[in-house]
């Protein structure tokens, strides 16, 4: 922790150029996005597993505090995406370093150019919502607490368990041998490339996701009567009783050219963003937490949470595949199996 405090105070004191501030913003925005990601994936999975909890979560998302958080989130994602592109570019073309400061300025400008219209549209959603509301303005603090408390408790429990595991691991001598010399790590080398390549792949996916879920329609539209979720092709008749759960189903069940387009899209986004985000978290842990026991505990906790988020997210998307489709798929595979057995098809 002292190393984190030192880095923060000295980053503020050292007269580094723009690159230093770009790095600091990149860390903060990335960390903020990961924290939201954990909550968002688990909340959305409830649309499949515990529909009534999902309805509650979306209700909490509409409270003013979450609205402020949504603006901050969009700002974080946009900055992180553009600055990440800059870092990847200069990492692959180190000889262009003279232009990095200009690039950092362009990133700030680009963030502003994207955020001004985005915030304008998002403000429009907020204003509409409060205009249509009949009930009095409500800060909804208890909803916010109800929506976030399980995550706070979960974080404490997961870190507590990880500390126990880590304490157990510290009894194994092989895991605690001091490092003798520097040795190449294939994993670290791979992750370095993965961070850059996944980051670039994520940019179009996440911008599309932001456009669909925060701009063209907002969180307030999820339960708006008569609202047809954008880029879905299932009739509006279902929407007359649009619930949050229904909204998710309308999206995921939409087919384009025989493919559940939004299921594929969301799974891709889920895998890339989760792996990218949690590896970033690992970097932060290894940079600032040096106590062996705590460092290992946090890495275990973060790895476990990553696996959990991916599993829960992927299962929610796959388990909600309509029964008829699942039957069709298994029938098709049976047919293929039979034709192979009868010699019509050669494996």
């Amino acid at each position: 922790m002292t190393s984190l405090v030192l880095t923060i105070t000295e980053t503020l004191r050292y007269r580094g150029k723009l690159g230093q501030w770009a790095w600091a913003l990149h860390r903060v925005s990335g960390f903020g996005t990961v924290v939201f990601l954990i909550m968002h994936v688990i909340d959305t999975s409830w649309a499949t597993f515990y529909p009534e909890l999902y309805v509650k979560a979306v209700d909490a998302y509409k409270t003013p505090l979450f609205t402020v958080g949504e603006f901050a989130l969009v700002a974080c994602v946009v900055y992180h995406a553009l600055n990440g592109f800059r870092i990847a570019l200069f990492d692959y073309r180190p000889q262009w370093w003279r232009r990095q400061e200009d690039a950092a300025k362009l990133v700030l400008l680009g963030t502003l150019v994207l955020l001004v219209p985005a915030f304008f549209i998002m403000t429009g959603h907020v204003v509409n919502y409060y205009n249509e509301r009949v009930s009095a303005f409500d800060l909804g603090l208890e909803k916010v607490v109800e929506a976030t408390a399980p995550f706070a408790v979960g974080t404490v429990v997961v870190i507590g368990l990880a500390l126990i595991v880590s304490a157990g691991a510290s009894l194994i001598p092989a895991l605690n041998a001091p490092k003798k010399r520097l040795k190449g790590s294939k994993m670290e080398t791979f992750m370095w490339s993965f961070m850059r390549i996944s980051g670039i792949l994520i940019i179009p996916l996440v911008f599309g996701h932001l456009a669909m879920m925060h701009l063209i329609q907002g969180v307030f539209d999820i339960t708006r009567v008569g609202h047809v979720p954008v880029f879905t092709n299932l009739g509006p008749n279902m929407n007359e009783t649009l619930t949050a759960v229904n909204f998710v189903r309308l999206r995921w069940d939409t087919m384009l050219a025989g493919v559940y387009i939004w299921r594929v899209y969301d799974i891709l986004l889920l895998f890339l963003v989760t792996l990218h985000g949690f590896n970033g978290l690992r970097y932060i842990i290894n940079d600032y937490i040096h106590n062996r026991l705590v460092n290992r505990a946090l890495r275990i906790a973060s790895f476990g949470t990553m696996i959990g988020v991916i599993l829960v997210g992927a299962l929610a998307i796959l388990q909600s595949v309509p029964a008829t489709t699942a039957e069709m798929l298994s029938e098709a595979s049976r047919a293929i199996e039979m034709s192979i057995n009868s010699g019509i098809l050669v494996r």
């Binding site: 190393s3 984190l4 030192l6 880095t7 000295e10 980053t11 004191r13 050292y14 007269r15 580094g16 150029k17 690159g19 230093q20 770009a22 790095w23 600091a24 870092i87 200069f90 990492d91 692959y92 180190p94 000889q95 370093w97 990095q100 400061e101 010399r181 520097l182 040795k183 190449g184 790590s185 294939k186 670290e188 080398t189 992750m191 370095w192 490339s193 970097y283 290894n286 940079d287 600032y288 040096h290």
Partner: protein
Amino acid sequence: MQATIRIRRFNPEKDKKPYWATYTLQDCEPTNRVLELLHRIKWEIDGTLTLRRSCAQGICGSDAMRINGRNRLACKVLLQEFGENPKIQVEPILGLPVIKDLVVDMEPFFAHYRAVMPYLVNDSPPPIGPDGKPRERLQSPEARARYDDTTKCILCAACTTSCPSFWANGAYVGPAAIVQAHRFIFDDRDQLLQERLDVLADPDGVWRCRTVYNCTPACPRGIQVTQAIGEVKRAIRAGKRDY
């Protein structure tokens, strides 16, 4: 011309923690260097002020310190840069243990330097000259130019101690060690390429660099430090010198 200098001072035998001391000097010239002001304070005001310097010509790399918030060599900074009646703040470089006042323990820094094997390794017999005797290994001007920039390093630690990754975690080998490794990785006479790349692909090697670019402007020799680190990363991923 009057100059005011604030110095971060610390005497482990007396002080619990570092403190700021302010000194005012008269009759300064715009062409005075910060090092000369520190000398005057030590010689005329307080003989206990402790600092390191050797050549005072920007070559030996002994007097790297944080001057007005940035890592510089005290012997290369002229007062005229700070305008009329300058106010200057001087503190030790960050990330290495302070021994006294502006003197830090450079041992962790040199340990990282040694870890990258900063010497040419070539076990093949030397070429034979026209006179039938062994002679030096010749190198083309182009091959020599490939690593020219990183031969300029004077190991002053200004780059390494400007890096937020190094502040956070002293296990990181740091920019200076990578610059020194670059000098041998891209030298085509060297035979230790794979071992060098292996050392730097350690989690505490180049991968701790987050491309912050603090090291490049910190270098008093104008070495393109971040570019050198970037080139080493590319060589590691390609597994060869000419990626």
